[in-house]
């Protein structure tokens, strides 16, 4: 895993090197901040995905939960005396409850793929119902600050992203929550025998994934200045792609927050670099597909990608 992450980092640097040869703008401080800001939403979802996939599961509902939580939160807090606090809490609670339902179902033997696929559709539908199918404009300034504000010249989403990376890294490596998640992914029966209460843990785990989606939703709406029922469409797949590029195995038991972040950065650099070099968007999709396959194949060849061990 270490070796693989090292390789990924080298790959990322190489990608940056190529981009900076092709565009003078690429290797500038403002563009660096652009890339970090752009990778925050997918990065947060990818971190969630690394916990979930590490536990042997899958969460396809995160993109829809971004939309649902932000739409519901804004609809119910526009006239509140504390719009910021209320939006924040509602966002987290809505997504945590929906995620908790995912975890509950998965604990009762519904395959994660099916439970969260159902939630993907259900949550998107609810988001469209609550918003009447239209984006809600006119957000409180405090929410705009989350997406567009700057502190000492650095965009706020970057601080939030870094904070959550640190928090989740510690959570995965140094707490029971993280260890249990990976043990469940490694061998459910062994985990049960070791005394882990699987059903309860899964509820917390998927609620946690939902809450990360809610934070991604907050950043999204702050950036585009609208709570959009169509927000985050297909983001779940981009996040899973980033997580796998980052070395997490689909068969569970291994995961890395740093890997997921590296994966998200690679996707973000690709998108940014190819845009600056004016490569048409069709080719950008081709590039992402190639990177995913090459990353896993290279990992197998050099050893260390968890997907192939």
């Amino acid at each position: 895993m270490r070796t693989y992450l090292g390789l990924m980092f080298v790959g990322l640097l190489l990608l940056c090197a190529v981009c900076s040869f092709l565009s003078d703008v690429f290797l500038t401080w403002p563009n660096f901040l652009n890339i970090l800001t752009a990778s925050a939403t997918i990065g947060l979802l990818a971190i969630g995905a690394s916990f979930i996939i590490g536990s042997g599961g899958l969460d396809l509902s995160v993109g829809s939960l971004m939309a649902l939580s932000s739409v519901v939160a804004i609809q119910f807090s526009t006239h509140s005396p504390f719009p910021f606090l209320q939006t924040l809490c509602l966002c987290l609670v809505v997504a945590a409850v929906a995620g908790g339902v995912n975890g509950f179902l998965i604990g009762r033997k519904i395959p994660a793929f099916i439970a969260t696929l159902g939630m993907l559709s259900l949550a998107r539908g609810l988001a469209l119902i609550f918003s009447n199918g239209r984006p809600v404009y006119g957000l409180p300034d405090s929410i705009l600050f989350l997406g567009q504000g700057r502190v000492i010249g650095i965009p706020v989403p970057v601080f939030i992203f870094l904070g959550i990376i640190l928090f989740c890294h510690v959570l995965l490596r140094h707490t029971k929550f993280g260890r249990y998640s990976l043990m469940i992914g490694d061998n459910v029966n062994a985990a049960r025998n070791a005394g882990i209460r699987i059903q309860r843990h899964l509820i917390w785990l998927y609620a946690f994934s939902g809450m990360l989606a809610a934070v991604a939703g907050l950043l999204f709406m702050g950036r585009v200045n609208a709570a959009d029922p169509n927000a985050g469409m297909m983001y779940e797949l981009t996040a899973i792609t980033a997580t796998i590029i980052g070395g997490t195995s689909l068969s569970g038991g291994k995961a890395s927050v740093i890997g997921a972040v590296l994966g998200a950065l690679i996707m973000s650099v690709l998108q940014n670099g190819l845009t600056l070099v004016n490569v048409p968007s069709y080719y950008q999709q081709v590039a992402v597909g190639i990177v995913l396959i090459v990353a896993v194949a290279f990992g197998q060849w050099r050893g260390g990608h968890a997907a192939t061990n």
């Binding site: 190489l14 190529v18 040869f21 003078d24 585009v224 959009d228 469409m233 845009t275 004016n278 069709y282």
Partner: protein
């Protein structure tokens, strides 16, 4: 680890050598941000932008989306565009506010902003602190009016198939049609089919079954009009006239085959051409234009194709 370093250095030097032959892609006059080019309307717009710029010796980058609803992706493209310091940005936003923060920064950097396709609200943009020079697009009210004028002097029952209730363009088209409809026509039903072919077909079947003397179907875009055409053919009804909007490739084909009666064509290629020309002129003389710059529209039917003399026909794809 040694091997790793070597392969990295090797690749790096290959990249160096390769980059020697490649011109940097940074110098650019105009950057255009448009929607999803898997939609023929936007593909034609992209072609129009690139070809016109090429003819006029203008360097242009066109950034398109993979998904028409990707408001964050478009914002990321806009932020990247700012760093290249173009003289102008031509944009068609995913929704009316998603580019707000980026357009504000562009205004601060004195980049000229031009809206294409006419979906933004002048006042809202001003409120958000950005300065858009003008907006090039079709007048959707006028499009509906043209369709009504095409039916001038006719009598009978009319079915209107609307776009989704969330689309201002769809609403303006229907409004333009209804307010200019001849006295002999009566609307017996007006229902939204959300730009969807099948929904439009279903609505048409049920309405015509209930009203066998239906004489006209007006649909707010061609996709829905073609749905209506198919539904009528399936019921073996040939007496109903169907009018659509857009002038898409499918619709043109259907008109030539004598199935669709007419379509009020928007001309995205011309829209793109006008956008480039007007932006270029504005960059040179800075002469303020009225905010709404309307692109001509053209009613297509079999007679128009047979005469084949309208100069605007060259822009029909």
């Amino acid at each position: 680890m040694m091997q790793l370093k070597q392969s990295f250095l090797g690749l790096l030097s290959v990249a160096f050598v390769m980059s020697g032959g490649i011109a940097k892609a940074d110098q650019v006059d105009i950057i255009a941000l448009i929607s999803d080019t898997s939609n023929p309307y936007w593909k034609t717009t992209e072609d129009g932008l690139e070809n016109t710029a090429k003819e006029m010796g203008i360097k242009i980058n066109v950034y398109s989306l993979q998904n028409a609803a990707d408001s964050e992706g478009q914002l990321n493209q806009c932020e990247a565009a700012l760093l290249k310091n173009p003289k102008a940005i031509i944009f068609s936003p995913v929704d009316s506010v998603n580019l707000g923060s980026c357009l504000r920064k562009a205004t601060e950097k004195k980049i000229v902003l031009v809206d294409i396709d006419g979906n933004i609200d002048e006042n809202r943009v001003k409120e958000m602190g950005s300065d858009v020079a003008f907006s090039v697009g079709s007048n959707n009210y006028e499009i509906g009016k043209k369709a009504a004028e095409y039916l001038d002097g006719q009598t009978g029952k009319v079915l209107i198939i609307e776009g989704p209730s969330s689309s201002p363009n769809g609403l303006f088209r229907v409004q333009g049609f209804q307010e200019n409809m001849g006295k002999g026509l009566t609307v017996i039903a007006s229902q939204p089919a959300d730009w969807d072919r099948l929904k439009a077909a279903d609505i048409t079947s049920s309405v015509v079954t209930k009203n066998p003397d239906l004489s006209i179907v007006f649909a707010a875009n061609d996709t829905m009009a073609l749905g209506a055409v198919e539904a009528l053919r399936a019921l073996n009804i040939n007496s109903v006239k169907v009018i659509g909007i857009d002038g898409t490739v499918d619709a043109v084909q259907s008109i030539k085959e004598g199935r669709l009666t007419a379509s009020v064509a928007q001309l995205p290629y011309l829209m793109a051409k006008e956008a480039i020309k007007k932006t270029d002129a504005f960059l040179k003389d800075r002469k303020a234009l009225p905010f709404r710059q309307y692109v001509p529209i053209l009613t297509l039917d079999q007679a128009v194709f047979e005469r084949n003399d309208d100069p605007l026909l060259q822009y029909v794809r």
